[in-house]
């Protein structure tokens, strides 16, 4: 029996009534006999700035454009309306249909149960007679959406009414779509905190772990955090306000809060004068506890800082503590303490002051992190916050704080309720098995057979498409498991998605062998209805979330869910989810255990296979002119005269490779050649590499040099060697070495990549290098590959690999390479003195090399170098004196910031753990086996060079001062000269420098010296800290010497 329009209008607010009028108008235009929910929807969509429309736009799937989807929706509504029978009589407004009226009634009930807020409700009640509660637009729309016909129409248009409802419940993020990228505003697929089982109920602020009490441990709560006391206040307020008792978790609903905070503050500051009053208060408390029939009383003791402040009376506090302890013992089942501390320190202080409190009070510390801005305007300033954040109030103002605990607790209640109510249901579901229940629901939920057919067709199509190409998997079992899971998920989600349901039902019918197909199909489902992705792990209770309140109040609640159930609407099955969540669990766990591990291994092995399989390439032999072995040899030894064996080996390898014989291993004979230069003589290696670059590619520009060992070194020093190196800004800061090399290579394929200290390379570089050797393609960090044909790789390492001949067996070297590498380029100075007793007895020229360090730095250990890596060097440097050690350190950089010298040296060896260096060693060996030629260098003979240098200098000295002087050469000076001559490209550069600069220095010194001819002690020293200003040509030594 239809209701007259006038009657229905009375139940609605003005806004809603206007909408109803529109609906009636629509029905009238179409000359329908009744105004149904569909008319209402049509009218609602047509309204300017319609709530429904904006909600829809927020609930759109991303698969289609919102516009198109709206178009579809309009069409669907239109078609459905067309199907309705039209009548002839048009004299009066078509009356409201029963279904629409039911919807209005429903929303009325809903609104009555859940007023937007309590006060509003009060006012409402006072102003109006209780019988006519006018339905607001929002509730009106919500209940219309519940109508099965309406939700079917929306479903046809690709919307799901549940989503739209959520969108309506949640206020829009931003009214105008200012964020063009946003696509759609947030779909509030909410979930309950802690729903995943591990953490029970952790609301935004904090959860009150009441259950803890039942478990017997730590039920009394101490909130710790800067904003803990705010949180506490908020909690207390919310509990007090909640006189109805329906916001707290079921098991403790009806709990009350007694705040003794003020009494405590008062009592303590008064200095214990009023013990009696306080005692009274406690007695009252005790009585109250005794009387209390509910689950218990929360006693709020407020902020602990009151108790540990400076000017509190200790007696008073200890009285208080003992009283509280007594109470707690007396009413262990009924009483909870709640307190707050602004920081852990405060807590520690109070615990320290009252020993035993921690145990007696059984405090459980709960960290509070969220900050509630004291500035009330935080929210109001921002136009967004109010609507944007459902709990906007939560952190904006303390007064709003009441909302979150309420809502959270509400949801908890609901869960409990659900659990209680649907234990039966679970049992049934479990017994019946998922498939049957799916079928059941399917028939329940698909009111129109037409619809079901449609879905069937669709699903079958999908199965078909999936059919081809998929072979039967042997993992049927595993898949079945999976399928079951998915099925369950779908089943529980099904009230929201008809597609899912129908598909699930199809799979149920289908055969066992098709399991894997079905799985595929089912996997498709999520994509199909995107919005349906209710993130099952997050949201085991999607529907519960719908009914979670916004920052206003909940539209649906415990009761609404239950009544809805009674009505047999879609909500019914949703409430079952919590249970299923539980019984799904073990299986999923199982799945989980198996997947990550195996996946990981699979990955790595397959990569290896791929790499090794791609190891064959087309041969492109003699595109290069075959170089004359001799010419290469000559060019190399011109640069580095002292490494005969090495130059020979290199030249041979070059000519061999270029002659097309390729490498001695591997089948590809590409244009690339690779070397490892092992052993000492860093500069020698570098020089040879440059020479090789010039010989092979005609220009020094084709040398790309990267020192892998120094990469990551932080502060530039004054090392001579550093200054030699080109510092590419690009390297070191922005890109990884791999990317750097790759970018260089892609710009300049014809080049020689010179990688120093390859043993210290990071794993990425190592991998890339190995890969490049195997396949001729160098991958960068993102996996893009650059061809390395025509590239020469030269990798150097201090470490000699395998059974290659040991480097210099010989004994104590006075000048080790480390020492020379550590040379710093300082200005030099000549000091001429007259030392009385030094009046030389001997007629011989005296030369003394002064140094603070003992001479045999680390050389003893040197021969072990090939055995182990840096640890040994490290030890050796530790043995040596501090200065030498420092010098060494700067060279021995293992990706260590240099400032970390000193005491760290000792444990350094420990933490660059063995496994790592072993690994590197293994890699290096492997790498060396792959290269075309392994070249072992001999140590540079610094000793003889030193001798020669000293001789040259003393010659100069003698020439100027005569033979009667004692020449003292600072060790550092010598090291510096050695390093310079080692570095210099020119032959005889050192001799020339001595002749010119030192000689001139001596004679100037003699002229200037106050002792004139009588100076008999000449010192050649460095000026530490004074950087060389001007360098002599051809050698990096000062162009003049200070006096």
């Amino acid at each position: 029996m239809p209701t007259p329009v006038g009657v229905a209008r009375q139940c609605l607010t003005e806004e809603a009534a206007r909408a109803l009028d529109e609906a009636v108008a629509v029905a009238r235009r179409r000359s329908h006999s009744q105004t149904t929910s569909l008319h209402a929807v049509s009218a609602l969509l047509a309204l300017p700035d319609s709530t429904l429309k904006s909600a829809c736009s927020r609930a759109t799937t991303r698969a289609y454009s919102a516009r198109r989807q709206f178009h579809v929706l309009d069409l669907c509504v239109g078609v459905s309306l067309d199907r309705l029978p039209s009548s002839k009589t048009l004299e009066e407004d078509p009356p409201i249909s029963n279904s629409l009226m039911a919807a209005i009634k429903r929303s009325q009930a809903n609104q009555r149960r859940h007023p937007d807020n309590f006060h509003m409700h009060q006012i409402h009640c006072n102003q109006q007679t209780a019988s006519v509660l006018r339905v607001e637009m929002k509730h009106f729309i919500l209940s219309i959406l519940d109508d099965p016909i309406v939700s079917r129409v929306f479903g046809e248009a690709g919307f799901r009414s549940s989503d739209i409802k959520m969108a309506i419940v949640q206020p829009p993020v931003i009214q105008t779509s200012r964020f063009s990228r946003a696509g759609c505003a947030p779909v509030f697929l909410c979930n309950l905190p802690g729903s995943n089982g591990t953490v029970s109920g952790r609301p935004p602020g904090f959860s009150f772990p009441f259950s803890m009490r039942r478990e017997g441990k730590g039920g009394n709560l101490l909130l710790v955090g800067v904003c803990a006391s705010n949180a506490l206040k908020g909690f207390v307020e919310s509990v007090i306000k909640d006189s109805k008792g329906d916001v707290l978790p079921g098991e403790i609903s009806g709990v009350s809060v007694i705040s003794v905070e003020d009494d405590v503050i008062h009592f303590v500051s008064e200095g214990g004068g009023d013990t009696e009053k306080m005692g009274m208060r406690f007695e009252e408390l005790g009585q109250e506890l005794e009387r209390c029939s509910g689950p218990g009383i929360v006693v709020n003791i407020g902020d602990l800082k009151v108790l540990v402040g400076d000017n509190v009376c200790k007696d008073a506090v200890s009285y208080l503590v003992s009283k509280l302890t007594g109470l707690l013992e007396g009413f262990r089942e009924k009483m909870w303490l709640v307190g707050a501390a602004d920081s852990y320190d405060t807590y520690l202080k109070s615990v320290g002051r009252f020993l035993g409190v921690e145990k007696d009070w059984d405090l459980r510390i709960l960290p509070i992190t969220s900050y509630k801005s004291p500035i009330g305007g935080f929210g109001s300033k921002s136009s967004l916050l109010g609507s944007f954040v459902p709990f906007g109030g939560f952190f904006s103002t303390p007064s709003d704080f009441k909302i979150p605990p309420n809502s959270i607790n509400q949801s908890i209640t609901r869960c409990n309720l659900c659990n209680a109510k649907y234990v039966q249901d679970v049992a049934a579901t479990l017994k019946m098995g998922p498939t049957i229940s799916v079928a059941e629901h399917c028939s329940d939920n698909l009111p129109s057979s037409q619809m079901a057919e449609f879905d069937m067709r669709k699903a079958v199509d999908m199965v078909k498409t999936k059919d081809d190409g998929t072979s039967l998997n042997d993992k049927i079992l595993a898949l079945q498991n999976r399928w079951n899971d998915i099925c369950q998920r779908l089943h529980h989600a099904q009230p929201f998605s008809k597609f899912a349901v129908s598909q699930a039902s199809i799979t149920e019918v289908s055969e066992v062998e098709n399991v894997n197909h079905q799985t595929k199909l089912l996997k498709e489902v999520p994509r199909f209805q995107q919005e349906e992705k209710e993130s099952p792990w997050f949201t085991p209770y999607p529907m519960a979330n719908v009914s979670l309140p916004t920052d206003r109040t909940s539209t649906f609640s415990v009761t609404s869910v239950t009544t809805d159930l009674g009505l047999g609407t879609l909500y019914a099955s949703s409430t079952r989810e919590p249970n299923t969540a539980k019984f799904c669990d073990p299986r999923e766990h199982h799945e989980l255990f198996s997947s990550p591990g195996s996946a990981g291994y699979d990955d790595s092995t397959s990569v290896q296979i791929a790499q090794s399989s791609s190891c064959s390439g087309p041969s492109s032999g003699g595109q290069f002119n075959v170089r004359d072995f001799k010419s290469v040899m000559r060019a190399l030894s011109e640069q580095v005269g002292w490494q005969d064996r090495a130059t020979h080996a290199i030249s041979k390898a070059v000519s061999r490779c270029k002659a097309g014989h390729g490498r001695h291993h591997g089948s590809n004979s590409k244009g690339d050649i690779s070397f490892t230069f092992l052993g000492p003589d860093r500069i020698g290696k570098k020089k040879i590499a440059s020479a090789l670059a010039v010989v092979m590619f005609g220009s020094i520009q084709s040398l790309i040099s990267v020192d892998l060992g120094s990469h990551g070194k932080l502060n530039p020093s004054n090392l001579m060697l550093e200054s030699q190196e080109l510092h590419d800004d690009e390297l070191g800061r922005s890109t990884t070495i791999v990317d750097y090399i790759a970018s260089k290579l892609s710009k300049k394929p014809h080049s020689l990549i010179f990688l120093e200290n390859v043993d210290k390379a990071d794993p990425l570089v190592q991998n890339s290098l190995s890969h490049a050797l195997r396949t001729g393609r160098f991958p960068d960090s993102r996996g893009r590959e650059v061809s390395t044909n025509n590239t020469i790789f030269v990798a150097t390492s201090e470490i000699t690999v395998g059974n290659t001949k040991l480097l210099s067996e010989k004994e104590t070297v006075r000048f080790s390479e480390e020492m020379i590498l550590g040379a710093q380029s300082w200005q030099m100075q000549i000091i001429a003195e007259h030392v009385a007793e030094a009046a030389t007895k001997s007629s011989q020229m005296n030369v003394r090399i002064s140094r603070e360090v003992t001479s045999s730095v680390s050389s003893a250990n040197k021969r072990k170098l090939d055995v182990t890596s840096d640890c040994i060097e490290q030890e050796s440097s530790c043995e040596s004196s501090k200065r030498a050690h420092k010098v060494l350190r700067s060279y021995l950089d293992l990706n260590l910031p240099v400032e970390d010298t000193g005491e760290e040296c000792a444990n350094y060896g420990d933490y660059e753990s063995d496994s790592i260096s072993e690994r590197t060693q293994a890699w290096l060996e492997d790498f060396s086996d792959q290269v075309d030629e392994k070249v072992v260098f001999e140590p540079f003979d610094f000793d003889s060079l030193a001798e020669k240098t000293v001789k040259e200098i003393s010659k100069q000295c003698q020439r100027v001062f005569g033979s009667e002087v004692l020449l003292e050469i600072d060790h550092e000076v010598l090291v510096q000269i050695l390093a310079a001559s080692w570095l210099s490209e020119k032959k005889r550069a050192m001799e020339e420098w001595i002749e010119e600069v030192v000689g001139r220095g001596f004679s100037e010194a003699r002229q200037k010296s106050q002792f004139g001819d009588h100076c008999n002690n000449i010192k050649l020293v460095t000026c530490r800290g004074l950087v060389v200003r001007e360098q002599a040509p051809g050698i990096c030594l000062p162009s003049r010497i200070n006096l």
Binding site: G183, D342, F391, G712
Partner: protein
């Protein structure tokens, strides 16, 4: 639920090794931010990577505006992931907000973490009476307003600022991941972060921490690292990187990786 969280948050486990190393990214990035330092660790550790639920690479539908109002939600996620993977002890490397998350997680489950490495961490971004967090409330408001008004412009301005060092690659990368985030989520998470205050609870952390701080960071003043060192309850060290910016793992990976490595082995 387990596999779902792993799927949803794109959890990946890489590398060989006994020990587990967890990398957690900060706001505005996703797990790809660790890409450049990953190779340094995969040979020696089982590396766990995941995305925060607010990351752009996670389906935004998973982001629940009601759940994520404070950091506890993220802590739940982290602990869930670790539990699901069966990790019973791990090293944790957290950047920015994830450093906070790590701190909270280690309070809740101290036995799970053998060491926290906190990059660009701050217990509190806003200034207070005797605390210099680097931001004033008003500044933050204006930043939020800027985000609201024009996200694109804000990102383009903010990314270079945050990266600090002149590294176009890193800026590009950060811009990309920032854009991947839905603007409302970015804003929401930023608010959450700026509203968090961990100062009071630092003492509850008993796990040793290594605080890695760049020499200049727009978001975290140098004093904060000291503050953390002095207030965290475990044994703490501070490492200063000689580079600039809030995202050293993007801008100076080669510098950061050895420092992390060293911190791990101590």
């Amino acid at each position: 639920m387990g596999s779902l969280i792993l799927d949803a948050l794109n959890v990946r486990v890489q590398g060989q090794g006994e020990k587990v190393l967890v990398f957690a990214h900060g706001v505005g990035t996703d797990q790809s931010a660790w890409q450049r330092i990953l190779p340094f660790f995969t040979p020696y550790y089982r590396v766990v990577l995941f995305d925060l639920v607010c990351a752009g690479s996670v389906n935004p539908d998973y982001f629940n505006f009601r759940r994520c109002t404070n950091l506890e939600a993220y802590v739940d996620d982290l602990l869930n992931i670790l539990d699901t993977l069966g990790v019973d002890r791990c090293f944790y490397v957290g950047h920015s907000v994830s450093a906070m998350i790590g701190i909270l997680a280690s309070i809740r489950r101290p036995e799970l973490f053998s060491k926290l490495i906190l990059i660009g961490a701050s217990p509190r971004f806003l200034n207070d009476e005797d605390y210099h967090g680097g931001f004033e409330q008003e500044e933050i408001e204006s930043v939020f307003q800027a985000m609201e008004a024009n996200y694109e412009a804000w990102v383009n301005g903010f990314a270079p600022l945050a990266v600090g060092a002149d590294v176009p690659d890193a800026v590009r990368e950060f811009t990309r991941t920032l854009f991947n985030m839905r603007p409302d989520i970015t804003l929401f998470v930023s608010r959450t972060v700026f509203n968090s205050d961990l100062r009071g609870i630092l003492g509850l952390v008993k796990v040793p921490c290594c605080i890695i701080q760049t020499s200049k960071d727009v978001s975290v003043p140098a004093s904060v690292a000291e503050y953390l060192k002095n207030h965290l309850g475990g044994e703490n060290t501070v490492e200063t990187l000689r580079t600039e910016g809030h995202l050293p793992h993007l801008s100076a990976p080669a510098m950061l990786a050895p420092v992390i490595k060293r911190a791990l082995s101590r």
